[in-house]
């Protein structure tokens, strides 16, 4: 009887151990999606110059733009221990443009004198720690008075076993539709202005963009990491701007005309180095070439200096040089025999410089003692472009990060 009791007791205790084992908590815990951070970015930009493409390469380029961005990041962990990141990005900007007002100078206020541009996007990515991969998809939408765009992007990244190298692949497509608004004096009979209330028809034309990206990042040592990226892009459809005027040598006038496709190949290299205890050097170089005959070199240097453990200033300087596309000529310089023509100084040959500084504060208890306001950043930059008679611009940005 004793033996039976002992056997039953042993069996029960073993079952208890087994049960306890099934009750053991896993090495990870599922976590519902919760807010990781919110970034609020506000920006004011103003420019002035005298080479507007709307008026054929002469005339005011005065423009102001007020932009606001709301960026919400949510993170969670599923039952397979994969991290899910959901990102909602809502952007809105409102601009006033002196040159766009010249599309239809006879009206009191033309269709494009000012406009509001809204462009939200949503991204979802899954990071798997077990095989060190991240897969993602994002959808984008953009709307302006005369322009609509729908975009999709797919991404895949894989990190090395020691997490010091990552290879990333991305592919994207944007399907855009453009309302063809022509300069007032160049509209055929019965062609609409595109303004609200005008019942005369206007054309709609597509512009599609396809991008791919391959990047490799590498941690070199405890202070240095680099990134190499190549990002070919192909565009097709209406690539000229229908309300850009062209004036030929004989004084006659038409609208800009450019090829229906464009292949771009930018190659970028980024190097970030932590020097000493207080200074970081962020360097970026890009070489660009396309099949319209443009080549460009861009270099950007920024040096965040940590004044204290929670305040840093970041002076920056950016220099860019580009050659003109082969279809560019100034006001009154195109000849009637040319197949394509533009007087848009954005795609002319020039040097540009952008310089300024930023200040970032991230005190341990939150900015102004507000616990969730993790950091704020203020950034100002002055832009000089040598194209034509020159253009200058100023930009000021404020960023608040809530965690």
């Amino acid at each position: 009887m004793k033996k039976i009791c002992l056997s039953v007791g042993l069996l029960l205790s073993l079952m208890k151990v087994g049960y306890a084992q099934t009750e053991q908590k896993p090495a990870y815990e599922t976590r519902k999606l919760k807010v990781e951070e919110i970034n609020l970015v506000s920006s004011y930009y103003q420019q002035d110059g005298n080479n507007s493409a709307v008026t054929g390469g002469v005339g005011s380029e005065k423009l102001t733009d007020l932009a606001q961005s709301f960026d919400l990041v949510l993170k969670g962990i599923d039952r397979k221990n994969r991290q899910h990141t959901l990102n909602f990005d809502f952007n809105i900007d409102h601009y006033t443009s002196a040159s766009s007002d010249q599309i239809d100078p006879l009206t009191v206020s033309s269709a494009s004198r000012s406009d509001t541009h809204i462009y939200p996007s949503i991204s979802w990515s899954i990071h798997n720690d077990a095989n060190r991969t991240t897969k993602g998809i994002s959808l984008a939408y953009s709307t302006e008075y005369d322009y609509k765009s729908y975009g999709i992007n797919l991404s895949f990244a894989k990190a090395s076993a020691d997490n010091n190298r990552e290879v990333s692949l991305k592919a994207g497509a944007f399907f855009d539709t453009w309302k063809v608004i022509l300069p007032a004096e160049l509209r055929p009979d019965g062609y609409g202005s595109g303004a609200h209330g005008d019942t005369d028809p206007v054309d709609y034309k597509p512009r599609n963009s396809y991008n791919a990206s391959l990047s490799v990042s590498q941690v070199i040592n405890k202070r240095l990491q680099v990134l190499f990226v190549v990002e070919p892009a192909f565009q097709q459809g209406l690539l000229s701007t229908p309300f850009h005027r062209i004036y030929f040598k004989d004084g006659s006038e038409t609208v800009e005309r450019l090829p229906g496709s464009r292949l771009k190949l930018p190659v970028g290299f980024r190097l970030h180095y932590f020097a000493g205890d207080r200074v970081i050097v962020r360097a970026f170089y890009r070489y660009y070439i396309d099949d319209w005959g443009m080549q460009a070199h861009t270099i950007n240097l920024e040096a965040p200096i940590k004044l204290t453990s929670f305040v840093s200033v970041s002076p920056f300087y950016r220099f860019s040089h580009q050659t003109a596309v082969k279809y560019f000529a100034a006001y009154g310089q195109h000849s009637l025999t040319e197949r394509y023509y533009t007087s848009d100084y954005d795609i002319s040959g020039f040097n540009s410089q952008f310089m300024g500084t930023g200040i970032r504060m991230a005190p341990p208890g939150g900015v102004l003692g507000i616990g969730h306001l993790q950091s704020v950043e203020l950034r100002y930059g002055h832009y000089i472009r040598s194209a034509g008679t020159g253009m200058i611009a100023n930009s000021i940005t404020f960023l608040a990060k809530i965690k």
């Binding site: 975009g151 405890k222 980024r270 660009y288």
Partner: protein, 75 residues
């Protein structure tokens, strides 16, 4: 076939060569500087709208982490 070596390609090649041959395996606990917010290998969030105006005011675009398609910017 002749291969032309421009100063730019020579510089990029040299940087990549130095980078590739001088890598050391950095452990997670040694990444306090690499993981600093300012060291992130992407454009800063506060550069978002600056990158938009580069895209509109300059012909060259892409490979900088900014917007690469969609939308007009024809103002």
């Amino acid at each position: 076939m002749t291969i032309q070596i421009t100063p730019t390609s020579a510089l990029c090649g040299s940087i990549l060569l130095i980078a590739a041959t001088s890598c050391v395996s950095v452990k997670e606990y040694q990444k306090s500087r690499i993981n600093d917010a300012e060291m992130e290998l992407s454009a800063r969030k506060s550069e978002k709208f600056e990158q938009n105006f580069y895209l509109y005011r300059e012909g060259a675009a892409g490979a900088n982490g900014g917007k690469s398609g969609g939308g007009c910017g024809c103002n």
